[in-house]
């Protein structure tokens, strides 16, 4: 999925005691379909804000934001919901699993929402869980898992519906380095095998090295860096996935 930001500005409205915060200031950026882009910047620089805008979680104050030529800022609420449901996978710093559902149900969640037949959900979830190395934990609940395991479940949930876009906000921010590396390997693996567009926010150099190139975020501006060279060449053009045809697509 191709991402294009055109003159995007974003600010958070202040309360009656605090002033408004200008976070993004006339940002334009293009991320090609199948890229693995890394947003880097200090804490508070606006990485999460940028991810929220791309992921249709928030709307920019001004400017246009296009996903595959669809202007998301012009979509209504239900179209945005369908877009999130079918085309985007999210990975969070705090895992954000649903505590009342077990591992299987958490992973199956996007497919359940799309009302996929149960038998198919079963085989797909089993397959993905095996891929993330948790094939034997399907009936466990989130509070019975370690941080690394929870994040692997979250990754499984983010890819189960084969979205063309995966957004990850500090996916290793809450993990030790060993588990962090494991998660980053997993994300890289998924990128290699399925070719989704991935945008990952991080402030760690170590994590940034897993991406194709870095986008620096600072002072309300973005600056596309030179890329982590070698990776770019690995990419085979034309292999970018399309949304799963069995899932409803945004109108």
């Amino acid at each position: 999925m191709r991402i294009r930001l055109e003159h995007v500005t974003h600010a958070y409205a202040g309360s009656d005691v605090s002033a408004a915060v200008q976070v993004l200031d006339d940002v334009s950026l293009e991320i090609a379909s199948g890229d693995f882009a890394v947003l880097m910047g200090a804490s508070g620089s606006g990485k999460s804000t940028l991810l929220n805008l791309i992921g249709a979680v928030d709307r920019p104050v001004s400017g246009r934001l296009l996903l595959d030529d669809v202007d998301t800022s012009s979509l209504d609420e239900s179209s945005l919901t369908m877009l999130r449901r079918t085309s985007i996978g999210y990975i969070f710093q705090f895992f954000n699993l649903i505590p009342t559902l077990n591992v299987f149900e958490n992973v199956a969640f996007p497919l359940s929402l799309a009302k996929m037949p149960r038998s198919e959900i079963k085989s797909r979830v089993a397959e993905v869980l095996k891929e993330v190395g948790l094939g034997n934990r399907a009936s466990h609940f989130p509070n019975e898992l370690s941080g690394g395991e929870m994040q692997r479940v979250a990754i499984a949930r983010a890819v189960i519906h084969r979205p063309p876009l995966i957004l990850a906000d500090e996916p290793t921010g809450n993990l030790d380095s060993k588990n962090g590396d494991m998660i980053l390997d997993l994300i890289r693996e998924i990128h290699n095998s399925r070719r989704p567009t991935i945008v990952m926010a991080t402030h760690s150099e170590r994590a940034a090295a897993y991406g194709d190139y870095v986008v620096e975020v600072a002072d309300g501006k973005v600056n596309r860096g030179s890329g982590v060279g070698s990776r770019v060449s690995e990419k085979e053009p034309g292999l970018a996935p399309t949304p799963d045809p069995r899932l409803p697509t945004p109108s």
Partner: protein, 849 residues
Amino acid sequence: MILRALVLRPIFREVQRTALTILGIAVGVAVVVAIALSNQSALRAFQESVDAVAGRANYMIVSDAGLNEDVLLKLQPFWEKGVRFAPVIDIEGMAEPWQQPIRLLAVDMLSDLHFRDYRYASVVTSDEKSAATYLAILRDDSVVLPATFAKEHGLKLGSPLTLNIKGVRRTMIVRGLLEASGPATAFNGAIAIADIAAAQSTFGFEGRLTRIDLIVPTDAIKSEIQRVLPASARMERPARRNERVEKMLRAFRVNLFALAGVALLVGMFLVYNTVLISILRRRKDVGVLKTLGTSATQVFGAFLVEGLAFGAIGSLAGIAVGRGLAWLILREIGRTINALYVSSTPEAIVLTPGILAAGVAVGTILSLLSAIQPSIEASQVRPTLLLSGAQTAAKKTRSITMIAIAIACFVVAALLSRLPAWNGIAVAGYIAVLFVVAGFSALAPMIVTAVSNLLRTPYRAIFGIVGELASASIPASLRRTSIASAALSLAIGMMVAVALMVGSFRETVRVWVDQTVSSDLWLRPAKGLSNADAAAFPNAISAELEKVPFIAAFDRASGRGVAYGDAVVTVASGDFDIAARFGDLPMIAPRSLSEALRNAIAKSGVAVSESFALKYEKNVGDDITLTTSSGPRHFPITGVYRDYSNDRGVIAMDRALYVRSYGDDSITTVVIYLKPGITRDTARRQLETMFGPKYHAFAVTNGEIRGEVMKIFDQTFLITYALLAVAIVVAVLGVINTLAALILERKRDLALLRVLGMSIAEVRRMLVLESSVLGLTSTAAGLAMGYVLSWILIYVINKQSFGWTIAFHTPVRLIAASLAVTFIASLLAGLVPSRLARRIDLASAMKAE
């Protein structure tokens, strides 16, 4: 500083939460106030209805030797003590032109208001409504006639009417017409009302009275009055205003009181739940503050200050809301009530100091008390506490202790309800109610979990992932949901208890009315001036009745007072074979009336009333000994029946046995069963023409009146439904408030679901399904609790307070309808706060906690 960080800032920053907390407390206070206010109206309406049917006088002074007016002078000093009295001349005579028996009722028209309610009738004097025409009623030759009677006989205002009263013939002028409605139709038309002074002088009764009606406030005053009465005069209860009526009134009051107590508990739960949610959600903040060195006492103090402040504001709001709610509901009900019967003006509800105090206490003191336990808990929070892992293990042991507590509560309640009354007050019964409520509340978490788990599979099958999430999320926040569910269950339990009470009371009243106002056509001999003239028909009338073509059967009743031990009981008689075929008496043992009566005929036995059976500890199969005209005789008891019309105790025997035993074949009343095809009214007129001149016979048709009487009581119960309405409104407000609070709690979780692709509609559906889980749980638990509460109310509290039980009667449709209303309302209640789902800020899900 701590106060600011923990209390003040959140109050103003999170306006919605603040509003919900205050609303929660206010609803708790409102239910107490609204129920107390509705109780006032219900009690007054019930009192009015009873007065309308039974008459307001609770005693009357009669004398076999005739009553002298001088007695009134002796009663004068009692006026100050609240005694009201009205002299009455009530005497049968003849309307000369048609030779029809007519009853002359002479009262003091100026002071009779305390006794007879003229709301049921209006007097038309003439078209011009001047004082002079009104005063004309007091003239010596004036009579007031029921409009129907006047019309029947072609009389108008100003028409002459010749009356023959005990041989004195006078021509009176019709100066007023009585437009009767409701129970006033009891007079059947043949009645002439006159001023007592005028009647005395016109018909030569100077200084004489038939009786004096009395309203006596207490039994102590009753004995004082008895001391000043002449030897020949005695005080009696009016036939309709017997012990039973007083007990019924007291029972109604006690039941309303108990329900107000339950309302208080509901209010307490709502307040506790609100305060608990409000404090628990700040556990994390407390953790942070404590790492920074805040002491537990400081945290505790801050929360208590908050509880007090919210409590005070919530109380004031709650009192206003409760008063408004009661006013609104009573007004709505008042609209549907025919104002003729029950004066239910919602303006008349009064906020008494007691109600105000209860409201403020529930709001303020309870908020404070409710704050204590969660405040202690919150102040004990350790910053490192991880909200995972250990929790589930703790939950298991908790639920086992809870079940143990619940069972203990139920056992204690069961034991308590077997204890006797203390000083005539069913203290143990009231405490048993508390234990039942406590038991159900302890079970609430388990019930909530069980119902949710039970619903999980069907909900998943029907509603997919949305249904699954809904059924899973309720037990996930068990602490809050179970208290909310307990509060709701109690509100619904209160509603069921109200419905059961209304149903049971209606049934009790119906039986009472059936006996007080019998459905048959009665033929009675006219009475004279004093009670000694208590007239009777000679047995010869039987042969003539046989010949009347429209009579299917008749039952000849008579009776007398008979010494039994050192008391006087009534021996009554009737034609048992007729009663067995046509009659209808509520039997206690055996079930069938005809079985009891046929056995009595076969064994020369008797049927006794419940009051006799209880008083003398006799039952079917026992023997009683009565002194007959041929000496003492044994009679086996073949039946016990329920009789609310006589407190002395009644022994009923077949007429043949009665005539043999007492050598008396006179008849006091003939109960007539008509053949189909003739109306009671036509039959009444024909019977009066046939038997009036010869026997001074008077026909009474009470059938229509009974319908009227039930109508009055149904209007009373309509007001009692105000309680029901309050309970329902509270239940619904409780659900709305709880769900709204829970949604605010879970804003972040809901945002996550939205980010993961759930639509607003799906989130809302999930929330409504959640409230359906809560609604179902509370409905099931509430139904069970309502039944147990009513059972204790009727079989323990009422029984201990009055020694008799009101009939336990389930108004199935009413309860089903109320439950349906609360369930649907709880769904709708889910809809209201689910609108909050639209306003969830999705980005908040992406942020750190």
